[in-house]
């Protein structure tokens, strides 16, 4: 049933009575303008009659849910209070239209609270498309002007109506006092209930937010943690693989818990030195099953020289992971005003720097060359049995920027 403007009442009625939908719509609009009975009738039909594809009506759903019923009843009593006050003030000009408009408002609330999710989505679209009352995030002067105009009109209208009933010092004064007492009575009777209903509503919203967060967390735990645990169980016979899996999971979880902002910004923002270093940590840990303890002090944007430095650091970390024979490599990187320095250290078997095989010397010299092109320097200090430390220092130039 897509033949609907608001609640689909006219469309439904037309197909039932076998008359033209357009005729019925025109009649409905006329009945709203003339006396406003149309609003009440439309609301009653909307609430009481289920749509073709649903088995329960909106009214049925609201009555069936205690909380929704409470909200609607609280609102109804408030509306009743307003109506009775208007009556007491003797503003006959309001009369029937006020009753219909306000009971229409109650009906709208019932629809809002009881509508099915699909219907809610459509209603929200309809409201957002409406030019004046819509909750569009349009915060321009136009919206403000519209609101100011409507507000001013209502205030002036109210004052005019009041002075029509008599001057403030005269008859209207007694009426006003009566009205205030009346409102007071209503407040004493119903205010606690109204307050509780409002509180329930905000609790409901909070609960929904929390439930969403929980669902988010649960899906993450499922996606990554449970999967990893499964993989770990499967490869229980292979200690190296278990360590590797556990390490990947640990790093991911840490990242997620302590550095949530990093996750979101990686795609669209330029990588910084810290991000590039974290990438090395991840890559070397995953590829070689060796733990990298990465300690970063400061950060700076990436440029040509820093890229070379990160590349050399990757080289040094891979070497340590491959050759040192130990399971933990410490990488300390510090960004200072006039230099960036990186130290890659392992406590493995070490070697005699002057007697390294040709292939390793090649890697070392590629590290050295790469750094030298940007004015940096590499120092390798090691001796058999004492581990190894590679120091990479890159000067920073601020003048040419």
């Amino acid at each position: 049933m897509d033949d609907r403007v608001l609640g689909g009442v006219c469309g439904g009625l037309a197909s039932r009575l076998r008359v033209g939908t357009r005729t019925l719509r025109i009649l409905a609009v006329l009945s709203v303008v003339v006396g406003g009975i149309g609003i009440v009738a439309y609301m009653v039909l909307w609430i009481a009659v289920p749509t073709a594809d649903e088995c329960s009506s909106i009214g049925g759903r609201v009555v069936g849910d205690r909380r929704q019923l409470q909200v609607v009843l609280a609102f109804s009593t408030a509306v009743l209070a307003v109506l009775l006050v208007l009556q007491a003030l003797g503003l006959n000009g309001f009369g029937i239209p006020a009753w219909t408009v306000l009971s229409g408002a109650v009906g709208a609330l019932v629809v809002w609270r009881g509508a099915s999710p699909a219907e809610l989505v459509r209603l929200r679209e309809a409201v957002n498309a409406a030019p004046v009352i819509g909750s569009t995030p349009d915060k321009g002067w136009r919206l403000f002007a519209t609101r100011a105009l409507i507000g001013a009109f209502l205030i002036i209208f109210g004052i005019a109506e009041l002075s029509r009933a008599g001057s403030f010092s005269g008859a209207a004064f007694a009426v006003l006092i009566g009205a205030v007492a009346f409102v007071g009575g209503f407040l004493v009777l119903f205010a606690p209930w109204w307050a509780r209903t409002l509180r329930d509503l905000s609790t409901e919203r909070r609960e929904r937010v929390r439930a969403e967060e929980r669902a988010d967390m649960a899906s993450h735990v499922h996606d990554s943690v449970l999967q990893s645990l499964l993989l770990i169980q499967k490869s229980a016979g292979d200690p190296a693989e278990v360590t590797r899996l556990a390490r990947i999971q640990e790093r991911e979880l840490r990242h997620w818990l302590f550095n949530p902002a990093m996750l979101g910004r990686r795609a669209d923002q330029p990588a910084t030195f810290a991000v590039a270093m974290a990438d090395i940590e991840r890559e070397v840990e995953d590829t070689y099953g060796v733990g990298i303890e990465l300690i970063l002090v400061g950060d700076c944007p990436m440029d040509g020289p820093t890229t070379a430095l990160v590349g050399a650091c990757r080289e040094a970390s891979v070497n340590a992971a491959k050759w040192s024979g130990c399971t933990e490599v410490t990488v300390f990187a510090e960004v200072e005003h006039d230099a960036v320095s990186v130290f890659v250290r392992d406590l493995g078997q070490g070697f005699e720097p002057s007697q390294v095989p040709e292939d390793r010397k090649g890697i070392a010299s590629s590290m050295v060359d790469r750094m030298a092109r940007h004015g940096g320097r590499v120092t390798v200090s090691s001796a058999p049995g004492t581990g190894c430390e590679v120091a990479l220092v890159l000067p920073r130039h601020h003048g040419d920027r």
């Binding site: 300690i295 300390f332 250290r345």
Partner: protein, 220 residues
Amino acid sequence: MTVADRLRVFVVDDHALIRSGIRVELGNEVEVVGEADEVAAAIEMILERRPDVVLLDVHMPGGGGRAVLEAVTVLAPDIAFLALSVSDAAEDVIDVIRSGARGYVTKNISGTDLLDAIYRIADGDAVFSPRLAGFVLDAFADPTGQRMPVPPFDPELDQLTPRERDVLRLIARGYAYKEIARELGISVKTVESHVSAVLRKLQLANRYQLSNWAAERRIQ
């Protein structure tokens, strides 16, 4: 060392697995006089048993390690605390140090390193893991650099001396105290006194500057 003068150690951690793991790592070198899995019980038992060193988990329900620290140090200032955590969150780490812990190590520390740290703490020294050293270097950024968030409030407390900075850098690079002493040509005792001085600065420095730094790190 006879059984009688072994160090008395108390373990506070809300995970039974971690507690038993720590017991295994410590072996018979020290005497574990008790363990607790929540804040209130920990405070009560520590005050009753008076251990030399408390190994304290940073993250626990009911106020965390900080609540234990604050309650115990008022009544028994001679009990030394070593924070033990898996947390990478800078503000958590700085928080327990500022509440009075004399050191911070991560839970993947080896048994011998942990024992070493316990002895050091019991001797009144400070123990910095590479990560904590990194945090401190970051928090007390180089005053000649651009990253100084606010001008120092009290230069004596809010800045590190170049020598302290050197020591922290070497700790962050993974050097043991003995190696640091050799590298800088000073005695191990001097290294220890530098680290203790940094700890003091960390605990007393301008709160505004440090919390500012922690908040900045969180945003990153």
